[in-house]
């Protein structure tokens, strides 16, 4: 128990150090380009672009931290939020690994397996992006070919169909309410048409899905149905 406490404590210390370094690393690019060009953003231009971006993405990324960190565990959260591509890659990779070894989210085993999966995923993604960048000219016709377009357009259903069926089959009673609610919401409410055009915005609806799922699970639990 004491050893476990000390591992978790150390993960927080290491994670904070790495995140501070990441903060320095991400500013290297704009800072170097501005210095080398001798050009800095005009405040009005920056504020206009930043306001349009932050109003959506500060909200989405803040929500992502609070909803995904309990699933990813400590190590997975520190690593996943630095390496990026959380919803489309890191969370599914962590869940795939936990499902493969039959370990549960939120446990010590779940935490380390999620961290290992996210680390392995980050390495392969970094190498693929680097390889893709260096070979971009010959690769562009392949990546943009109309033949492959439907495959890349449908990566979200391909990913969540496989992940979803496992967990829905295991816990269909808990799954029913949020799935019915979200299906109705996305199909019927014109207000939510926007996320269809901007896939990143789907993150805004995740907490709503979580609240409905937790409420429904609580009711089922209290009434002895699960």
């Amino acid at each position: 128990m004491n050893q476990n406490y000390s591992y978790n404590e150390r993960i927080h210390t290491w994670g904070r150090i790495w995140m501070f370094c990441a903060l320095l690393v991400i500013f290297t690019l704009p800072l170097t380009v501005s210095i080398m060009l001798g050009e800095w953003p005009e405040p009005a231009n920056f504020l206009k672009g930043f306001a349009a971006t932050a109003v959506i993405f500060w909200t989405v990324t803040t929500i992502e931290v609070f909803t995904f960190s309990p699933m990813l565990g400590n190590g997975g959260t520190y690593l996943g939020f630095v390496t990026g591509n959380i919803t489309n890659l890191k969370v599914p990779a962590a869940l795939n690994a936990m499902q493969t070894l039959d370990v549960k989210m939120g446990t010590d085993e779940g935490d380390v397996i999620s961290t290992i999966a996210i680390a392995a995923s980050s390495i392969i993604t970094t190498l693929i992006i680097a390889g893709g960048a260096l070979l971009l000219i010959p690769l562009t016709p392949v990546l943009e070919s109309p033949f492959l377009k439907p495959a890349f357009d449908n990566i979200v259903p391909a990913l969540f169909g496989a992940l979803g069926v496992v967990y829905i089959a295991k816990s269909w009673k808990i799954a029913a309410a949020p799935i019915i609610f979200m299906a109705m919401l996305f199909l019927l409410l014109p207000l939510v048409i926007a996320p269809a055009a901007v896939p990143g915005l789907v993150g805004l609806f995740v907490p709503l899905g979580c609240i409905i799922a937790i409420t429904s699970a609580r009711i089922l639990y209290k009434t002895g149905k699960i």
Binding site: T87, A133, N154, L208, Y221
Partner: protein, 246 residues
């Protein structure tokens, strides 16, 4: 713009790559050691690493598509750097569009040749993505102690709570698949039958893999069931489109 291909731009890309790979290796080693202390075998750890790498190939190639789109305006190196650290393909493109088109009224398809546009894009992209770097170090401990508290108080409910969190996320993405889509150049919205069929195909392949693992004892398949389901259903999406399904 000449600056986009200077040697020091490649040096920054190399620095970012080295940083991400070092951090990943650091956490991989620490977590693997801890996993062995918890009684997880080396064989299972290797299985997780292999399966996660294979699983990540298809989504990583999809990220490359974002790189192709961004490269038309920003050259190759900037999207490479941005998509390697903290970035997400769903974020970088809208952030760039907000500046290139929203602020300067230019087209995303044309190369950025004005220094003011370039530096504004870079600073907006960078500031737009920093919240996790602030929130995680400040609040993660509190969030996790809340989760631990729930499990400690009632372990059975704690388990249901975590399952519900995950199913809440799944439900949002399933809803997203059903959401009406926009097709460039065509007015109005349509529901993508291809997306729904891809979802069902992926789930069906996963069920078949499950039967092969559980009934016919093909244990090796367990690590690759999700990557197989993903790639199989993506290939079927090509077939559905070829058959005229929209």
């Amino acid at each position: 713009m000449e600056i986009l291909t200077r040697w020091w731009m490649y040096a920054i890309a190399a620095l970012v790559m080295a940083f991400v790979i070092s951090q990943s290796l650091f956490f991989l080693i620490k977590a693997s050691n801890r996993a062995m202390e918890l009684g997880i075998s080396r064989k299972d750890i290797t299985k997780v690493i292999t399966s996660s790498m294979i699983f990540s190939i298809a989504p990583s190639i999809a990220i490359l598509l974002g790189l192709v789109t961004l490269a038309k305006s920003l050259g190759i190196i900037i999207p490479w750097i941005r998509l390697s650290v903290l970035g997400a393909v769903t974020y970088e493109l809208p952030a760039a569009v907000n500046v290139v088109s929203g602020v300067f009224g230019l087209s995303m398809g044309d190369p950025v040749i004005i220094p003011q546009v370039l530096v504004t894009v870079l600073w907006v992209m960078t500031f737009g993505i920093i919240p996790p770097l602030i929130i995680v170090p400040l609040f993660l401990k509190k969030i996790q102690s809340g989760v631990v508290g729930i499990r400690r108080k009632d372990s059975k409910w704690g388990e249901h709570f975590m399952t519900a969190m995950f199913l809440g996320m799944i439900s949002a993405f399933l809803g997203y698949v059903l959401a009406p889509k926009i097709q460039p150049g065509i007015e109005g919205y349509y529901i993508s039958i291809t997306a729904i069929l891809t979802l069902i195909t992926s789930a069906a392949v996963m069920v078949i893999c499950g039967i092969l693992v559980n009934k016919y004892k093909h244990e090796w398949l367990k690590s690759y069931a999700i990557p197989f389901s993903m790639i199989g259903s993506m290939l079927m999406a090509i077939l559905y489109t070829f058959m005229g399904v929209r």
